[in-house]
Assembly symmetry: C2
Homo-oligomer: 183 residues x 2
Amino acid sequence: MDESQLLGFFKALADANRLKIIGLLSQENFTVEQLAAMLELRPSTISHHLSRLAKAGLVSARAEGYYNLYRLETSKLESMARQLLSRESLPAVAADVDLEAYDRKVLTDFSNPDGSLKIIPAQRKKLMVILRHIVNSFEMDVRYPEPEVNQILARFHEDTATLRRELVGAGLMERERGKYWRV
Amino acid sequence: MDESQLLGFFKALADANRLKIIGLLSQENFTVEQLAAMLELRPSTISHHLSRLAKAGLVSARAEGYYNLYRLETSKLESMARQLLSRESLPAVAADVDLEAYDRKVLTDFSNPDGSLKIIPAQRKKLMVILRHIVNSFEMDVRYPEPEVNQILARFHEDTATLRRELVGAGLMERERGKYWRV
DNA sequence: TAATTAATTAGATATATATCGAAATAATTT
DNA sequence: AAATTATTTCGATATATATCTAATTAATTA
């Protein structure tokens, strides 16, 4: 669901010692002291790691008399793994990304301030962006005679013949008996 | 399988922008330039992220004429997610961890150089470590009379009565009609 | 109550790395 | 061949964070 939850999950596990802690807790519950001895780290360091894991919901502590017993939250681990396997969660991660940014960039790169084109892009990928933009200057369900088409295309570039041909070739317009229309 | 492979997987995804790249590539293949425009980062930065993802096997590049089209390796993603769900892979992450380190630490903390105990630990968890150590001084399948038990325990601590009681209480030894034996 | 002990928090340091700009490569178009 | 373009690599910088020691807190035992 939450994209920052996925990030927190990965960040929590992106450390060799935290991974080992998870591995150990998957077999048995341990205290901070025990983990510190086994991993040859200071208790304060272990405490830090455990708090990061706890913040991600991957471990929890139970006060056992004198000390804190930490245990693995296997359900959390499973639910995150399952999220990775689901088809919806990945696209959701990029939900707030501006997908049109590239098209806008191409448009600005190739356009003069008055809206005309500096040059016609040679690359297919960029030409398509430009063509999709140009075709918006034609209304739907209107059949344009060739001179009128040229007049509109001339706003963008003097080589109207190339633009006409590319628009048809790209499948954005169609032609029959000297008339053109959007598809 | 490989524990460092799991770590590489998590490190590769433990970054907000790399996660977004994965999210975008889960919908469509993109070039470096396109990703750079959409994420508002420099192409060199995107290239760096993609190389980290590629090293983890999560994306791959296909030379498409002029540019490189990157695509998501969904099979890799799935196999890693499945590894998280399997029961064996987690313990394997901690395979090289010294599980006895804590017991050794307790033993050293409470023992004098000659092997006798400074004090008998009050805490259950530590007392158990000491008792499991002491019981090794008794042979299996031998029935010891109480004076002999005391003689052996005296090597560890003068309060042999407490040690005797705790060994039986912990279920490490049993007693019947004045004789003691290991279980 | 005083002393011991486990755990956490705070502060400091050193390492890792995300990001950028510039340079180098590689491929394409003119 | 020269110029353009996409990508990668390199070097530098700034940020994040793993780890330690020291101090603090909380709980237990003597």
